[in-house]
Structure formats: structure tokens, C-alpha cells
């Protein structure tokens, strides 16, 4: 792997589901995604835009319909099942639901130690020491190791999930809305924990989220998704300072401002079209405030308008 190659590079990734009655649901429809080592790359968009599916595609928990994924210089989709399984030690995940993602019949020690056991790492005693170290890193104590998940609060459970995600010292952690199921007061703790761990472990995050204030806090780069496509991708600062795509602008405008006297957010008109039957041309044109005739005909490709700032809109200008 060349030194400056990205850790993860997905190209033209798509997942189409055949639907009863003959339709095709385009959950993810041709996405390019490049994540550099050490970055936190956020995927944002409304619910149903395909961001979670994209995360699952990267993890190969869902098999893509088309596309390629390069991870650590290897073509993930070409790996045979056993080779893919071994690759999973470098690829980790934190789930959204801290209740469903922990086996209720296991103790915390079994949950956190499961990846170690799966990969046959260490002796029983070494694994136990490792589990205790992991628990300490996420702010739990060894006394918690013998408890079951139902004895913990949502935030504590998410810490257990994070400890498990770090057990094998992965390179990339797909964080699938890791804080959106938590109380606001707990969210900040978990976000800070994730940031601390990123520094101490040299982690790369693919951070799926719909909460822009969380993204603004944690992300280095942001990809904005709409109806299975990436419509804008930029460094965080550029994206929040000068969004180019009308959808990104609408998304940012919808964030409530805590300032007194700030203008109330202007919601977008209409609903997200069905991914079963996306609009012709630009996917966003049906709700776009600046759409022109061309948008119904040409499907805009991502264009690089400034260094590292790519937009899929005919009207966006450098």
C-alpha cells in the first residue's frame, strides 16, 4: 500500500434490493467514498438516504450489488469468505442501538472478549486482562465484567459496545449513529470518549450520523447523502462555512440556532421521493429551490469545485 493511499476507498458502490412486485429499491446507488487514515469521515443525511446501508456495505454485512471497496490496499469484495473473515479484525463497528447490539445472555466480559476469542488471541488469563484494560479505557471498571447488559444504562451499554469495537485494535471503526439513541447529556460524554480513543489508538472513523451538531464537533470530512447518492463531500470547515449543494444548504438551515433573534429554520418543501422510483436527472430536483430544466435531464456527477470539495449539482460554481 503506498504511504499516502487512503485507508478505505469505495467506488461506485451500490445496493439495489429487488422488491416484491418487480420494483428495484436503490438504497445506495453509486457512491464513491474515500477515507484517509486517522480521519473522522462523517456520512450525513436524512433517515432513509442510505447512509446506514453504506456503512453495512463497507463492513460487508450487506453484499453490494456493484462497486469496489479497497481497504488497506486490498480489494475487499474479491476476498474469499475466510480471507474476509480474517480481514475483519482490522474493521470494526459500533452500532446505533446499545440494547440490540449486545447479546443479553452474555456477561460484559464475554461481550468485550468475544472478538478476542473469535480470533483466538491470548490465553484465558491474557484475554481477561485485556478485557479489563478495555473496560478501563471506556470508563468502566473490572467489577462490571461479570454483569449482564440489562444492568446498565444506555450510555454505559454504548461504552461496552465501544470496548468491544476496540478489542482487536482495528484500523477503521464504522460508527453507525453511535450516539443518536442516547440522552443528549450522555451524547457529549460518548463523543468525547470516541475522540479520546481515536487519539490514543490512532483510529479512523466512518461516522454515520444525522445530527449535524455532532458532525460539526467530531468530523474531519463530511459526505452528504440524499436518496442513495453523495451530493456533496468536503472538509468539515468548508462544508459548514460554504455549503455548495442546495440540499446541504437546506440541511444546515434546518439546524436550530441557539442565538436569540436568529431567523427560524426554513424547512424544505415536500417529502423525500421514494428510492423505488427516484426522479430523473438530479435526485434532488423535486425539492430543490433553484432547479432548472436541465436538472430533470442530466444526472449531475460529483465535480471538484475547490480542493477536496466535490459537489453534484449543475448550478454550483467554484
Amino acid at each position: 500500500m503506498p504511504p499516502d493511499a487512503p485507508l478505505l476507498a469505495a467506488q461506485n458502490l451500490a445496493k439495489h434490493y429487488k422488491v416484491r412486485g418487480g420494483g428495484v429499491l436503490r438504497a445506495v446507488d453509486g457512491v464513491d467514498l474515500t477515507v484517509r487514515a486517522g480521519d473522522t469521515h462523517a456520512l450525513v443525511g436524512e433517515s432513509g438516504c442510505g447512509k446506514t446501508t453504506l456503512g453495512r456495505l463497507i463492513l460487508r454485512l450487506v453484499e453490494p450489488t456493484t462497486g469496489s471497496i479497497r481497504f488497506r490496499g486490498e480489494d475487499l469484495l474479491a476476498l474469499k469468505p475466510e480471507a474476509m473473515r480474517r480481514m475483519r479484525r482490522h474493521l470494526s463497528v459500533i452500532f446505533q442501538d446499545p440494547y440490540g447490539s449486545l447479546d443479553p445472555r452474555m456477561t460484559v466480559a464475554e461481550i468485550v472478549g468475544e472478538p478476542l476469542r473469535i480470533f483466538g488471541q491470548g490465553t484465558r488469563a491474557e484475554r481477561r486482562a485485556r478485557v479489563e484494560a478495555l473496560l478501563a479505557q471506556v470508563g468502566l471498571t473490572p467489577a462490571h465484567a461479570t454483569r449482564h447488559p440489562h444492568e446498565f444504562s444506555g450510555g454505559q451499554r454504548q461504552r461496552i459496545g465501544i470496548a468491544r469495537a476496540l478489542a482487536l485494535e482495528p484500523d477503521l471503526v464504522v460508527c453507525d449513529e453511535p450516539v443518536s439513541a442516547l440522552d443528549v447529556s450522555i451524547q457529549a460524554q460518548i463523543i468525547n470518549l470516541l475522540q479520546d480513543l481515536q487519539q490514543s489508538h490512532g483510529l479512523t472513523y466512518l461516522f454515520v450520523a444525522h445530527d449535524l451538531s455532532v458532525v460539526r464537533h467530531i468530523a474531519d470530512r463530511v459526505s452528504v447523502m440524499y436518496l442513495g447518492r453523495v451530493v456533496e463531500e468536503a472538509p468539515k470547515a468548508a462544508l459548514f462555512a460554504a455549503p455548495r449543494h442546495p440540499y446541504t444548504r437546506a440541511l444546515l438551515a434546518a439546524v436550530p440556532q441557539p442565538k436569540p433573534g436568529a431567523p427560524p429554520p426554513v424547512p424544505l418543501a415536500g417529502e423525500v421521493p421514494s428510492p423505488l422510483n427516484p426522479p430523473s436527472g438530479c435526485r434532488f430536483r423535486t425539492r430543490c429551490p433553484v432547479a432548472v430544466a436541465r436538472c430533470a435531464e442530466d444526472d449531475p456527477a460529483l465535480r471538484e469545485l475547490a480542493a477536496g470539495h466535490r459537489v453534484a449539482c449543475h448550478l454550483a460554481e467554484a
Binding site: F119, A143, G155
Partner: protein, 292 residues
């Protein structure tokens, strides 16, 4: 690395919460006592039986329950109490063997069908085919074809109850396999067998245990039917079904010959059903019938 104090102290753990709840369930306790008594009788048959179960004393035929013969004697002058406890050993033994075979085979088939969707169709259609026959008719046909013996009765009854068990297991596997912790185990490199053994099986067990309790009851009942109809273990082996079959001709003169084994079957099945209800209420509360 400094991490803020994240966690409030937990309440001390309560040990064995499931057992606690079971022992607070009154019907479960009654079932436990009934079934437990039968198991004790079966296990301690040698100690309890005052006579050898096959010993015939022709001068003592048709003795009513009373002195010398607590439950009376049958048409060959055999002690009914002795036959009853040795019969318990065989009847419960056959029931337990059926539960064991059914539990293992049904679990394997149900796990495979629920988890590996490609084998689901063929496996479940085969199970449906078996379930299309009335249970006792099928058992009767198999036992008659194999010949009368205890082992063949176990085989016949297992074939009958495996499809029901497989269905129950498959249904819970279909739910559990969609749980996010299964996705998590896959994401962390777990092989399918690992996931089945560590996650899917333990989380699918509750309805299976409940179902197996009921199957135990059905098997005891069905075994007596087979014996009664003459395709169970052959006479003079004491099984409850055999005893009823032999007693039925004298029911008007000597009611006790058929009644005691009948009562034993009743109490065993009642006990097992109460156990099953209690287990279901505690282990699998979603199935609980709403009580007004």
C-alpha cells in the same frame, strides 16, 4: 488516558432471578411436586416396590387395595403398586428419551432451517409432511412397522414430535438471527457455527424448553396409548399402558387394576403441563395467555 467517572455504582446482583420467579409460581410448584413424586417413584422402584413386579400369586388374584397389597393385585395376582413404580420407570424413561432425541434433532433441524435460509424450504416441507399425519396414527404406524419394543416406541414418538420441535426452534431462530448482536458477531469475524452456538441457540432456548416439557407429557400419554394398543413394550413388561390394557377386561369387578395406572398417567401429565405453564410464564412471557 483520563476518562471521566462514567458509571454510577450498580445495585448488587440478585442471583438466579429466573429460579426465584419459578419458585414463586404456585402452579409450577404443584407441577414440580406431582412430577417430582413420579420421578422419585421411578428412580426408587426397587426400594418402594414390596413385591417383584412380575411375581404371580394365583391365590391372591383380584385382591382389592388394602392390607398386604396397598393398591391391590391384578388378574395374575401381581402387586399393582410394584408394577406401577416399575411402570413409572419405563413410561417416564421412554418419555425422557423422546424429549432428548426430539430436543436434539429438532434443535439441529430448526437451527439449520432458520439460519441457513437455503435449506429452509426442503427441511420445513419435510416436517410439514410428517405433521400432516395425526400424531398417534403416525406413531402407531411406525411402532407397528418396527415391532413392539421400548426402543421402537421412542423412535416412533420422536419422529412424531421432531417436526413440532423443529418448527418452534426455527421460529425463534428467525427472530434471533435478525438481532443486531448477531450482525455484530458477524462483523467481528464470527463463523456461522460460532454464531449459532454462542448467540442464536442460547437466545432461542426458552420456547424450546417450554415445548419440550409439553412433549414429555404428550410422550407419556402417547406411550400408554401405544402400549394399550399392543405396539409398546410387550407384556408382561409393566408399563402404564400395558397395565390399563390388562385391567380393562375386569373393570367392573376389579376397578383398581386399570384405575391406578390411569391415575398415574393423569397426575404425570398434569404435573408436566403445570411445569410447562410455569416455565412459559417465566421464560417466555410473550406467550402468556392474557388473563382477565
Amino acid at each position: 488516558m483520563a476518562v471521566e467517572a462514567a458509571v454510577a455504582p450498580l445495585a448488587p446482583p440478585r442471583r438466579f432471578p429466573t429460579l426465584r420467579r419459578l419458585f414463586r409460581h404456585r402452579l409450577f410448584l404443584i407441577g414440580l411436586v406431582l412430577f417430582g413424586t413420579m420421578v422419585v417413584l421411578a428412580l426408587g422402584a426397587e426400594l418402594i416396590a414390596p413385591h417383584a413386579p412380575a411375581r404371580m400369586q394365583f391365590r391372591m388374584r383380584f385382591r382389592p387395595p388394602g392390607e398386604g397389597f396397598l393398591l391391590g393385585t391384578d388378574n395374575f395376582g401381581r402387586d399393582i403398586l410394584s408394577r406401577l413404580v416399575f411402570g413409572a420407570r419405563l413410561s417416564l424413561g421412554i418419555g425422557f428419551a423422546v424429549v432428548l432425541v426430539t430436543g436434539i434433532a429438532g434443535t439441529i433441524i430448526g437451527l439449520a432451517a432458520g439460519y441457513f435460509r437455503r435449506v429452509d424450504e426442503p427441511l420445513m416441507r419435510a416436517m410439514d409432511a410428517l405433521m400432516a399425519f395425526p400424531a398417534v396414527m403416525l406413531a402407531l404406524a411406525i411402532a407397528a412397522a418396527l415391532g413392539p419394543s421400548a426402543v421402537n416406541a421412542v423412535i416412533a414418538l420422536s419422529v412424531v414430535y421432531i417436526p413440532r420441535t423443529a418448527r418452534i426452534v426455527r421460529a425463534s431462530v428467525l427472530v434471533v438471527r435478525e438481532m443486531e448482536y448477531v450482525q455484530a458477531a458477524l462483523a467481528f469475524g464470527g463463523r456461522h457455527l460460532w454464531i449459532l452456538w454462542r448467540h442464536v441457540l442460547p437466545n432461542s432456548l426458552a420456547p424450546l424448553i417450554v415445548q419440550l416439557t409439553f412433549i414429555f407429557a404428550y410422550a407419556v400419554l402417547a406411550e400408554s396409548i401405544l402400549s394399550f394398543l399392543g405396539v409398546g413394550p410387550p407384556p408382561p413388561t409393566p408399563t402404564w399402558g400395558n397395565m390399563i390394557a390388562e385391567g380393562k377386561d375386569y373393570i367392573r369387578e376389579a376397578w383398581w387394576i386399570a384405575m391406578w395406572p390411569g391415575l398415574a398417567i393423569c397426575l404425570t401429565v398434569l404435573g408436566l403441563n403445570l411445569l410447562g405453564d410455569g416455565l412459559r410464564d417465566v421464560l417466555d412471557p410473550r406467550l402468556k395467555v392474557q388473563q382477565g
